[in-house]
Structure formats: C-alpha cells, structure tokens
Symmetry: C3
Subunit: 471 residues, 3 copies
C-alpha cells in the first residue's frame, strides 16, 4: 500500500502550541498574497510561446541541480538521469529518482517537491519505487493539458511579476514576444553581465570573454575593445534591458571584491584582459573594478544592483568537461565583504539613490559583516538566504543572525532564484511559513507586538520585494 | 489612539510553558541583584558634577550609535539628527526618530529603549509619529528634575560599581572629583592605552600617536621616546589608574595578534614607530608586542587585561571625515586567535595570577577557538557577547557555543559596554533574562539540576563579574 | 546531605511536550541497539589481557583530557592530578576533581560522567567534596571485581565492534593476542599513518619522522628512504592492518590540503622531507600529496579513508615540554576544504568505490563547504560532530547545518572517538537521544513522516556506521 501524501496545514510552523497558533494567524493573512519574484532563472520562452512542458523527467529531474546533485552524490551517473543523454528512457530515469526519494529526507527539495506533487498535480500518495510509474504517468499526462501550460500556471500561481536573468548579449527576443503577445503576465528581465565582465568566463560551448566582447561590439555598434566603447555598450544594453522591464542587474563574481581605479588604470587593465593576456589577479581586479563601474551606472539609470558572490563554480572538473555549467558542482567558499566592498563604498556608500543588494553563501558573514554593513550604509540591503541556505534552517539562521543589527527593513523579502518553475509557489510558501514562525516566536517572547508582526509578515512576503526592486 | 506600552513580565523568556516557568523563577531570584558594570563608556563628569542631562534628543539619540546608524542606513542624514549640528531643532530630530521607530523592530535597541521609556520615564504609550512630542516633552521635563540627575539615577538603578574607560593621558580629574565629593557611588576607571600604543591612532581632532607620546612624556616626566622610558610611563600611569580604582586595562586592537620580541628587537621597533617612520606591518607588530608587555605589567600590578579585537574602525571614510570616530561605522572583521595569541600564551599562558579576558566580534571563533583556549589556559577567560552580539540571539549563541567546552566558570558575567547610561539597567535585565532562559532550558532537558541553575543564575548575574574583575 | 544522582529518562530530549513524546518513542526503539564504534582510541591491551583497571583516578581522571583541561584552566596543576607524577595520592587527586565538579556544569563531560557514575557504578549521590571519598572507594572497589574487567564491560556495554587506532609501526601484537585468545569480542584496528607521513611529527620521547622511517624500513623490509619503497611499505602495512580487521585509515593533518604531484615531483619532495632538509611548505605539501596517495591505495584495497584536519596540536609549549602530547592543549583552527580537497577530488572525486569521510573542528564549514561537497561528490561522506563539538549543542548544529544540503545519507552515524572506555555507552546514548530529538522536531513540524523518522533513527544509531565503515 502506498503511503498517503498530505501536506499538513501547520507544516514548518514551530512546535510550541502558543507560537504555532500565532504563526498560523500571521501566515493566514499572507498566504494568498500575489507572488513577487524579483530574481530567478525561469526561461522566457515558456511564457513567450506557451508550449507544453513535456514529461515528468524533463521538467522536474533533468533541470534541477538540487535533485540530481544528491542522486549523483549517492552513485547515480548523471547520464542515467538523462543529462546530455537524450537516449535515456525518461520513465526509467524517473524510477531511479523515485527509488531514492528517501535521500531527500530533511532537505528543502523534499518540501518543494511534495508541494508540486500534491498541490500542482493533485497526487495523493508518496513518491516511492512502488508509485514511480503512477507519478510519471500522472505528471506527464497533466503536462499535456492546457492547465499546465506555462501561462496558465503563471496565472494559477498568482504571480504578479517575475524576473528572468539574461546576458547583455541576449537580444531579449523572447521577452519581446511576450510583450507583443497580448498576454498580460508581467515577465521582466535582469541584466547579468558576467559573460562580458568576467575575463575567466567560459560557457558550455567553449566560448568565453573575448568572443563575447566581439559579440558585444557587434550587437551594440560600440568598439568593445576600447574602454570607453565597452562602457558605452554596457550603458546601451542596460537602457535596452530597462526598456524591456528590467529593474535590476546581477553580478555573480567569485568574490565580493571591488576596486576604484583611475580611468587610466582601468583602461590599461581593460587592455590586458580584453587582449587575453592577463593573470588571475588581473581578472579579479577587473571584476572588482566593474562592480564599481556598474554601481556608477546604477546611480544614473536607477537599476538595483545585486551582488551574488562566493561560489566556486564548476568545482568538479570531470563533470564540467562532460556536462557543462550548473550541474550541481558549484561549491560555496569563504567570502569577505568588509575589505572587499570598501572601494565601492568609499565612492558610493553614502548615496541614498543607489541600492546594492548583498547575498552570501557564507553564513559566518551574516552577523559579523553583512548586518553591520547594511545597518549603516544607506546604499546597502541584504538579500535573503540564498541557494544552499534557501531552506527552513537557512532562513531561520538568516533572520536570527541579521535582524538584531540590520533590522527587517534593511532586507528585501524573498527571492526564489529558481529555474524550477513549478516549485515557485512552494518556495514562496515555505518562506512565508518560516517568516511567520520567526515573527511568532518574537511575539510569544514579547519582543514584538502582535500588530507589528502582522505588518512585518506582509512586508516580508510582499512589500519589501516590491520596494527594494522597484516593482 | 496611541498603542499602550507595557513591558510584559515574561518578556524574553522561552515560549515553552515548562521552560518559561523555570526561567521566571530563576530570574525572580536575581532580578534585583545590584548592577556590577565592569566595562563601559559612561562619562565620569556626570557623576562628578551631577548636572542635568538636557533634552531627550541630546541624551538618547545623538550619543547612541546603535540608534543613529540604523536611521542613517535608511537615508536619514546624521546632521538632521543633530550630530555635529547644534543648530538642529531637537524636537524635530526626535520626530525623525519617532516616525521611524518600526525600523528597530527585532533589535535590542528597541528592547532597551522601551525599558527606558516605560521604566525610567513611566511613559505608557508606544513611540510613534503620533506620540513624538509627548515623548520629547515628557522625557525632557523629567530630565530637569532632581530624580533624573546622574547620581540619583545611579542610586535608583542599584549600581554597586561602574567602570569608565580612560586614556593614559587622562588626568582622571573627574574621577578625583567624584572621590572628593563625598558621594558614595563607586565609579572607577579602566586603563585604555590605545592612544599611546597604536601607531595608527588618529583622534577626531587630527591628533595621533606621536603627539600622544609627547603628551605622555610631559604627563609622566618619563622620556617616552625611549623604550625604557615609554614602558616606565605605562607603569606609572597604571599605578595611578589603580590608585583611582581601576582593576582592569582594555585593548581595542584591530586584531588579536601578540608578539614576544627580544628587548633589542622591541626597542628597535619602538624607535621606528615613535619616529613615525613605519609600515603597516610595523604598526601591527608593535601593537602585538605591547599586548605582551601589558600582560607582563598585569602580572606585576594585578590589573585584569581585556582584549577587544576585530573592529574595522571608521569604515566609512566620508562619515569619519565629517563626524569623527564612533559614528556607527565600525564594522567587525574576521578575527583569528589561535596563532595570534600564541606568543603571549607561550610566555604567560600558564600563569594563574594573570587574568586575560577575551572578547570577539567574530562568532565563528566561539566554539572553534575561544572556548577551547579558555577551557585550557589558566590565564584566559571569555568576555560576554559583545557590541553587535549584545542582544538576545547573540547571547544565546554565545552560551550555546562556549559552554560545552569552556563551561560557565571560564566566563565573566555581563558587560553593558555602553555610554547610554539610562539603558544600563535594561541591558543587565536583558542579560539576566536570557541567561535565566538558557539555564531553564538546560534544567527542562535534565542537563542541569534546578539548584545548580539557581547558583549559576546568581553567578552569571553578579558573582562572576565581581570575581573576574576583582571588584 | 548529599544530593541524589538520578538520570532522568527524558534527559536531553526537547522540552516541548509534543516533540518530547515523539523523541521518547524514537529513542525507545534504538536505545538498545548494539554499539558500533568505528573510530576511537581505546587500548587493545585492555581486551587482550583483560586486567583490572586500577583506581578511580587512574581510570577516569588521568587519561581524560576533557576533564583535566577544564581543571587546569581553573588553576589546578596537572601534577596534582597525577599526570607524569606517579607519587600523587590518587584519593587526593580525586578530591581536587570532586570539589570542582561544578566547573563541568553545561558540558558533555558532566553528562558522560554522571552516566558512568550512575549506570556503570550504580552510585546514587552526586559527586561533590562531601562524596569524594565515597566515590573513590566505590569506584576503586568495583574496578577490582570481575564485572569491571575490560571484556566484561565490553559485553555488558553491548559493543558489536570497536575500532582502535594504531601507527603503521605498531606490530598489532595486542590485536593478535585478542584474536588468539578465543574471546569473541570484535576489536579491530585502523591505520593511522601520521607518524610516518608527517615530516613534522614528534612523539613524546623526542622521536620523529626520520626515526620512524628507519623503523618503517626495518619493519617492512622495504627501503623507506626511496619513494617506491616507502609507498610499498604503506601498501604492505595496510594489507596487514586489513588482515587484522581494519576497514579504515585515519589522517590527522593540520589542514585538509591535498596535492596531486607527478611521480617525479613527489619523489623529489620525498627526498627532501626524508632527508630532514625541508621547509614548512615542503612538509605541508608532502602531507597533502600523501592524502592523495592514500586515496589511491584505498581505491585498491577498499579501506575507508578518514580525514580529521584542523587541530593545532600541542598549542601550549610548556605543557607539551613537561607532559607530552594529548594533554588538552590541542586547539581547533579555521579550516578550508573547497580549495584544499580539489587536487584529490579532481583525481578521485567521482569514484563510487572510494569512500572518504570528512571531519571538521570548524563548524563554519558545515553548511558552507562540507555539506555542499558531500551532497555532490560520490566519494565523500561527512563524519559526525567531532571532539569539541561531540556534545548536545554541537550535534544539533551539525544536523541543522548539514542535513538540508547533504541529507542524512551522506553522513556516517556516530563516532565516540574516545579513550575513556567507560563513557562509550554514555556517548552513544547521548547521540541517540539528540538525534531522536532532532528527528522528533522535524516530525512535529511536519517536515518528516513519523515512519521515516523511525527508519532514520535506526540508520543514524546503527546502520549508517556499519555501512560507511564496511563493518
């Protein structure tokens, strides 16, 4: 007999009855608020062309690095799951996953997936070897229906606005198609210039920074091998992205280092990196300088700046060579902010009209560096618990370690940061539940009034994201 | 209608009814113990001359960097609050604060301030835009009365002893005035030699290390440009401070680094730094050497040594240039202790008659470095959760991460470390509540007997501070 | 009147009644499972010759660095406790401990010791100055009885298997004696090659790496001053250890650094370190290279590899000079894994047949580095909370910070890692209670089903250790 799958209405709330009752009430008032998703990685083609998603494996397994990294860690080859292996039987791949579903006990993937199974697909039994085919068939059949087309899900999920992320080299034709389609869903882009900023950038096809500069020139008509032309190309593309709805930029550097070189120094450095004749230190310094350049442009064009540092990308050389980027082999590294951000902050830190949102994969910086910085500098805000820390315990640590110094109002609400479209409501729901529980704890300990917690619950679930991202 | 302001008798206790009941009982037995404040930054002039404090803004807003840093982070200029701007209308400044009081939700400042409002001033409504003038008027009027003079508050607050912090260059005339006044309040000093130890020291008036050495010579009659004279001057001033009640020294270096140079090396290094011809490494090494020299003197004169490392002072260059030190722009940095302290510990670590109290702004060192060090070396003790971590969650993390390795008896009770005089009872009350809750949790989980917790509550609230600081 | 000593049946369970009830049930089903102890430091002579343990002080005080480091930190000389001082009166030494038993409040030593007193010896009153002699006499008398011989305790403690740790230079004669004795207890060894791998190794008798290489040659008949001979000697001893039951190796390097040099480079480096003519960097690089060599051998012979980095050994120079190694003066250091392990992982990270268990003394790496690494690489697993973190709060932090990214199944159950034989059941019991409480919290918050928690409780208490260590 398969075990029943039921999402408990009190899931993720603290166990103490007093706290739980408060949490339940706080959550009740925010659970149906529209979803504001200011940072993520959904594919604009979905919303532009509204085609069906395919089968269960292609939708839920192959693209989800949270899922296949865990299976890989326990000895399942990525090929067996269908990565870079179109010949695999998707039903067989799904079975490998279903049999190993206990591996996800205690992980947020389990919580998100159970929501997708129960709420999105209405499945009433737990995923296991026994129910593997039932799942595969139910999900695959549902995906063929109109109700599971991207736009229908977007509306059903009550998404008010969602941001995707594109390279400056992207022509945003899918975003243009959405806009010209007449569909009312608000899908915006965000400016992610790493491919034309990071001298060490390599994409899955072996392309890299220099090829990207050539494409950048071609796209913009600027001479992107000259420093002024390169900066002008950024300004031009930022304006175009903004015209296509972007309100933010995003920067995924290895570190948070910034620099503030003279024009002559910056120009000389650019000559080296653009010529492909540079050291690792040159590359790091160039990335550092470009954060400050981007901040300068943000002061002009109003785009909110997001800094997402600290991932050692593609740590597994063999997996990268065989499968490319984003295959679950990015590993967080110790990250320093206090020295790293000083050059940018010395120049722009006191600007009220600049907004820089800091993220981290190094939780030891929450209380030590990030909350003190954001609790002082007018331009700084803290992004939510990110990636490996986008989880119940991760969110609780984020709140416990940042609130006392930075308060709630130097944070920016929730980011789902995902390409797993169906899990978006689950992720926002999880964040709303955890925040409600955190606030309920403060109320129960008489550290916050109940009416304040109610205001905060709305702010954390909805208002702060809209305000911080100018949505 | 303004909302009522009421301090709940169970505030800050854990929500679980069993744990809360135990916490309430533990706290009940210690809440009225006298306040021992062995480390802080109150102004001895208050107690020497007992003059009224002025208005609400001048007392509670302008000097409190916890408060104005948060307002600054949300776009309020420091000038608008009255910093370096005597022309500001204090009532208008107070209103800026009152309107933004929600920014402090979830912060310890909110807890301390509500105590001050409700307990010290007897205000019964919450601070908000609506009650801003009521607050300003009520507080300002109260401050004009005898009951709110510094000595009256000292007595009302049941302060058994309070330590201030002075530079070796301070003549301690205000402390002398207190002693000769006949008033019985015990206000002592502490020896804080950074201005004459740190080659990089700069004060708000542009003065620095070399000018301070000249003043040090003049004050002591020693030749403070010679290494023996410089050390003799320290010894002389330490003796004078001790005669004025000091039982401790305090050292706020950027790092915890110590050194144990030969006399010849130390002398050569001193020549460089005192001549103003030194590198950053020289300055760091000199500070390191001086910690060891101070430890040597402590072995002789019995002064307890406090090491407060890890703040990047004056991180915001523009705020420092305009407003000077201590303006909420000090940011913690990663701090290392194991290598850093070894030279000092190799020389004095096994001395039972030396007492060195370690503080940190880097919580990642609690369980990893500080508790293991303090749980082994006879000379080491751990100071309480400090500054950004002087908060409910900060204190809970301190206990949770140090107790299992260092125990309770290698810690030293609570420090309020504040210049916000009216908040001192609130801060000690908060610490007593959090410690009672922590102990109650251990009792409820049968990790500690109730009678042991009762002893510990007394120790943490009172006995340990007296013993560790020889008060 | 002495206070009664009673171990509460609900000790260490969360206070909330709902969670506690779930924890009690989970624990009830696993509390009597046999003990699997795959990593520790008991003495094989105990089981080989089954002689009585001596008196209370010699058994419980003199060898337990957790205990005497705390006493030392509070001013008790190690000589007074009997370390390197056979002339001390053991009853007087015990009294020093008994009088200071309150120092251990809140520490795991207190919990382990109370279990030993109450459960192993049946003592019904608390340890204190008053009961010191009663304790000393009761324990010492019991130790003279048959029931307290090592083998009898082994059986009474329901130990299914226990691993000791030996140097490659150890002839394993005591293990051979156990095997030839006819006694059925399963005591196995583990291969701990630090003495012949670490160029900086110094033992208590002043011996070191070069002397150990000579002994290694003599023992194996290989030329251990040649690189091929040295590696062959390792292979030979590993095979011998495996024949004596070993299923694992153990590596206690200062850092987690690995290297993957060419054979020529490795050979040249070995010439330097084996000649005693090397820098600190050479030594570090050699240790790094040897981790990769050991991994290569593990792929061949199947021994599970344990990496225990991050202790600054013998930090207290005077204590080391007077008392030698393992005297409570090892201090954890910040430890980096992501860069450090890359050379080994680049070569072997994707091998399903290799098993590398990572430990840390730096909890900041749990969520940031270790869980992401173990949640991706097939060869990696996470060892339990270790040493200073082998404690209720330490275990809770381990689970809270690793589970969401690595899951439970990339962890390996509990290690007691102790030489304090009588505390072994107490340590496993503590781990089972804390894990039950952690799982109960997940169930109460509807993050895990009750039947899943029951499976996991068995896995964490028993199955995972057997599987991970191939026992």
């Amino acid at each position: 007999m398969p075990r029943p799958l039921e999402l408990h209405p009190d899931r993720l709330f603290p166990a103490d009855p007093t706290v739980r009752a408060i949490a339940r009430e706080l959550y009740g008032a925010v659970k149906d608020l529209p979803i504001v998703s200011p940072h993520g990685h959904t594919d604009p083609r979905w919303f532009a062309y509204d085609e069906p998603f395919g089968n269960a494996t292609d939708l839920l397994l192959v693209p989800d690095h949270y899922v296949f990294r865990m299976l890989y860690s326990q000895g399942i080859a990525l090929e067996e799951l269908g990565l870079r292996n179109p010949g695999v039987d998707p039903r067989a791949a799904w079975r490998l996953f279903a049999e190993r579903y206990p591996l996800f006990r205690g992980t947020p993937s389990r919580i998100w997936l159970d929501w997708v199974f129960a709420e999105a697909f209405g499945i009433g039994v737990q995923l296991s070897a026994e129910t593997s085919d039932l799942y595969f068939d139910t999900i695959t059949a549902a995906l063929a229906t109109e109700a599971f087309r991207p736009r229908a899900l977007f509306e059903r999920f009550n998404i008010e606005v969602i941001a995707t992320t594109e390279s400056p080299l992207d022509r945003l034709e899918h975003h243009a198609a959405i806009r010209s389609s007449g569909w009312q869903g608000r899908v915006i882009t965000a400016y992610r210039p790493d491919p034309v900023i990071d001298p060490d950038f390599v994409d899955d096809k072996g392309g890299g920074f220099r090829a990207n500069l050539a494409a950048f020139s071609e796209l913009t008509g600027e001479d992107c091998l000259s420093w002024p032309g390169y900066l002008a190309a950024h300004r031009q593309r930022r304006a175009f992205f903004a015209a296509m709805g972007a309100t933010s930029t995003d920067h995924g550097h290895p570190t948070a280092r910034t620099a503030d070189l003279s024009t002559a120094e910056a120009e000389a450095l650019f000559r080296k990196v653009s010529a492909g004749d540079f050291t690792a230190d040159d590359a790091e310094l160039f990335r550092a300088q470009m954060l400050t350049e981007m901040a300068a442009m943000s002061l002009d064009d109003g785009l909110v700046m997001q800094i997402h540092p600290g991932a050692f990308r593609n740590h597994n050389a063999k997996v990268f060579a065989r499968f490319g980027r984003d295959k679950g082999a990015d590993i967080p590294s110790r990250t320093e902010y206090v020295q790293a951000l000083k050059p940018l902050l010395d120049r722009f830190g006191n600007e009220k009209d600049l907004s820089v949102i800091l993220f981290t994969l190094d939780e030891s910086t929450y209380a030590r560096e990030l909350a003190p910085l954001a609790g002082h500098y007018p331009c700084l805000k803290l992004g939510p618990a990110w990636w490996f820390h986008d989880s119940p315990e991760g969110m609780k640590r984020f709140r416990a370690m940042t609130t006392e110094t930075a308060g709630f109002y130097n944070t920016v609400g929730f980011n789902d940061d995902t390409r797993a479209f169906l899990s978006i409501p689950a992720r926002h729901d999880l964040a709303r539940r955890i925040d409600s529980g955190f606030l309920a704890g403060l109320v129960a300990e008489h550290r916050l009034e109940d009416w304040e917690a109610a205001e905060l619950a709305q702010d954390l679930a909805y208002n702060l994201a809209k305000k911080a991202y100018k949505l």
